[in-house]
């Protein structure tokens, strides 16, 4: 049993702890809260008037494009972190390598910018 796995077991215990806390709150509330069923209570809330159509409507396509951009930069961040811890040992070589890497990714952002993706019309 390695210490490495042990420490991540502690992390998992904390995840379970969060679920237990939420469960305890909901369970405690279930003991003392009333339950008086009326159909109107379970209607979808639309500022007091009867709901129109379904709740699942279409939304702006831009959110999807932002999500795609996010994936690009998030993957970049995954590569930058290990580099950042070893920069002192890599020295100038590491610096130039990362400058090229970030430059290529910046091109992606510039392309999106140029295409008007970042603008809300």
């Amino acid at each position: 049993m390695s210490d490495f796995l042990r420490s991540y077991l502690t992390v998992a215990v904390f995840g379970v702890l969060a679920c237990a806390l939420v469960g305890a709150f909901v369970g405690l509330s279930a003991l003392i809260r009333p339950a008086r069923k009326q159909d109107q209570k379970y209607l979808t809330y639309e500022s007091g008037v009867d709901p129109v159509g379904t709740g699942w409507t279409q939304s702006n396509i831009r959110y999807y494009i932002f999500a795609l951009l996010f994936v690009m930069f998030d993957v970049e961040a995954v590569f930058i972190f290990p580099w950042a811890t070893r920069l002192e040992q890599y020295g100038l070589f590491g610096l130039i390598e990362m400058a090229i890497f970030i430059f290529i990714l910046l091109l992606g952002l510039l392309y999106a910018w140029r295409k008007g993706v970042l603008k809300w019309s």
Binding site: L5, L17, V22, F25, Y45, N60, A77, T85, L106
Partner: protein, 345 residues
């Protein structure tokens, strides 16, 4: 796997009798303090009123009264909602907060776990709350909720990037992702050869600190970044259909994350449990470390709520423009500058 769970009484004892209760305290106590001190009192004084005064001395038990009230509310599931996802969303949001608190060190030996990838894990699990919020917004089958949930997702992922990239500057300076290592790097560091107060990274990573705090503000969906729960246009966004205890759980999650993010900022930029003048290896820090960290945390949390009470809300397009066209390029410049200085000096 069997070996992993093999009975090791001392480890299980330590985890369940010491770490779990302290973990609960570390999440709930700052959350309660922040709600009372800042959300109830500080905002009231800024608006020339007293705030709660009836429950307990100076209204200090108001929060317990509120929790008692919420516990007694009827549990309402909208008939059109996706019930399983609707019920699961608060679990996911709170889990993200609890996984964040696990990386915080409060003294040389006073810590939950000593992970080599500490800050990296924190950045990874902080984005889990996006999933919970999206689940809440989608499963409610409500137009306000869906819009709020999608706005929240768009905002949280946009500001996740400056948050992560601002941390990279700190990691370059400290040379480690271990939270304890980051504290020690600040305690033992020097600013251009002068080591009088160590090297709290707020001085040498000031741009990173500003970017980090703006991103944290947006991650917590506090005003001026409260577009997802904009009450004047979306009722309460993704929380519209939640009531009673389930709403309270989201509320706890929001303020507990405010506390945890402030504590992470305190560790990254203010030296965590270290104060200048005492040797960093000293056992004294196991006792005063948690207090020092808590003090720094509350000061940073005050900054967050001060901004919340002061600035008007951003429009959705202004919000996205700030993230993509200003904060992300700026944080990349910050990484480049830090890298050049680190190699050159």
């Amino acid at each position: 796997m069997i070996e992993l769970l093999a009975l090791n009484p001392s480890w299980w004892q330590e985890t369940f009798l010491i770490k779990v209760p302290i973990g609960l305290l570390a999440v709930l106590l700052p959350a309660g303090t922040i709600v009372y001190l800042y959300l109830f009192k500080a905002i009231s004084f800024m608006q020339s009123r007293l705030g709660p005064m009836e429950a307990g001395p100076y209204g200090s038990l108001q929060l317990l009264a509120e929790v008692g009230k919420w516990l007694q509310k009827e549990d309402i599931f909208p008939s059109k909602a996706d019930k399983f996802v609707f019920a699961a969303a608060p679990f996911v949001v709170l889990m993200s907060t609890f996984l964040l608190v696990v990386v915080l060190p409060a003294g040389p030996d006073a810590l939950f776990v000593d992970l080599d990838a500490g800050i990296y894990l924190a950045m990874a699990v902080s984005s889990v709350s996006v999933i919970g919020i999206l689940m809440a917004g989608w499963s409610s089958a409500n137009k306000y909720s869906l819009l709020g949930g999608i706005r929240a997702a768009g905002q949280l992922i946009a500001y996740e990037l400056p948050l992560i990239l601002a941390v990279v500057g700190v990691v370059i300076q400290a040379g480690t992702m271990n939270m304890q290592g980051i504290v020690l790097a600040q305690a033992e560091g020097e600013i251009f050869g002068w080591g009088g107060i160590g090297n709290p990274f707020i001085l040498t990573q000031f741009i990173g600190f500003v970017i980090f705090m703006i991103a944290v503000q947006a991650e917590l969906t506090q005003a001026p970044f409260d577009m997802p729960v904009a009450e004047s246009e979306l009722v309460t966004g993704y929380l519209t259909e939640y009531s009673g205890i389930r709403f309270l759980l989201f509320f706890i999650g929001e303020f507990a994350s405010a506390g945890v993010f402030s504590a992470i900022a305190a560790v990254l930029f203010f030296g965590g449990w270290y104060i200048p003048g005492i040797d960093a290896g000293s056992q004294v820090f196991n006792v005063i470390g948690p207090l020092v960290l808590a003090t720094k945390t509350m000061i940073i949390a005050f900054l967050i709520f001060w901004f919340r009470f002061t600035f008007p809300r951003f429009r959705e397009d202004q919000l996205q423009r700030l993230a993509w066209k200003f904060l992300i390029p700026l944080s990349l410049v910050n990484i480049a500058l830090t890298g050049v200085l680190k190699v050159a000096l």
